[in-house]
Symmetry: C2
Amino acid sequence: MKKTRADALRTRRQILNAALKVFGLKGYAATTLNDIARQAGLTRGAIYWHFENKRKLYEALLKDYYRTIEEKIKTEITSSKTPLIQLKDGIFKLLNFFSDHQDYRTIEEALLGSPQVQQELAGVLDKQKQLFGQIYVQTRALIKAAIDNGEIRKGVDPDIAASAIISYVNGIKLTRLHNPLSLNNMVDQLIDLMFKGMEKGIDPR
Amino acid sequence: MKKTRADALRTRRQILNAALKVFGLKGYAATTLNDIARQAGLTRGAIYWHFENKRKLYEALLKDYYRTIEEKIKTEITSSKTPLIQLKDGIFKLLNFFSDHQDYRTIEEALLGSPQVQQELAGVLDKQKQLFGQIYVQTRALIKAAIDNGEIRKGVDPDIAASAIISYVNGIKLTRLHNPLSLNNMVDQLIDLMFKGMEKGIDPR
DNA sequence: ATGCAAACATACACGAATGTATGTTTGCAT
DNA sequence: ATGCAAACATACATTCGTGTATGTTTGCAT
């Protein structure tokens, strides 16, 4: 039952996809390697050949996730529009990414949700904090640029605004995790509403 | 080793408190009844006498939580201030409640985080949706009242604003769950920033 | 052709957690 | 006083998941 190298990589993918699906349904702690194996149409033997254990398998999933997200963010940011447009676009792309790729729900839940799970996965925590910090820095930089650019009024504190935006986006993600359809056509209006508190050219009366 | 009725109720409390603490540290799936028993200075026998099993114990915790929150909300809302003040006050009280009562972190995580865990606890899901719906309705009503009152400008859609506020508050909760100290002195400014997008009397320029 | 190792499947050993059965103490009604 | 049941602790059986050891097939280098 030896397969070619390409075949092996394909079954590795199968395992990762199956893990993504099952983790999404039952959560990290509740899913057994047997669940994943059955979902993948394999046995636990295959899993243990490709990964050390359940934790390493999960970490591999996270690695994938981080790479994808980081690429997303970088390509979105390097656009040539104005800072405020860049920021808004980035948020939209990010939010749409999660509604499109339902499979990544699992990971998002794990990252948004319980910090306890990540205690077990301490190794990945650094990477996560690093990514979060990176997002924070980029967001604040864009806000500063937008202030200098005159798109956001001078009185806005970049730190507070960045924290607000990140919390807000995570809150929206969370709402959609619990009820994927709830905010479907609202997202752009939700973002606009938040930015109305910061933008310059708008007279709220 | 029979105790008086009052004593029994006290040990029941001990168990609930211990469960709250341990669930908060390790998460629902990862905590064993032995952990809880040890934390309470008892044995699993005591737990099984007071509760059917782990799930029912957790549900009892949720019941407690819901009662507490519902009371909080009701007493905060029936204040006599203006609608917008009521809304802001309610949000502050809610956010402060969670930073004060660290023990309820667990429950909050379970409710905010992974929907998967609640599949196992299907019975409580209804109660949760009901509570969430209730919060949504009350929020929207207060926004409408604030519009009629002239505190929020006419152009704001109450549905969108309510969704925005709830997502925002949940996002802030989430951020503080992951890093309890991060937004410590910002919260009021965060809320203000959001409301600046809605309020009437403010000239953003 | 053939021998080795990759790529799994199967089998087994072990611990951990659950649920239940049973034992033990003691408050309280009679 | 005494018998019953509340309020637990202790002991045991059973299940379940993990990790590992072993078996099996087969692509590929020689």
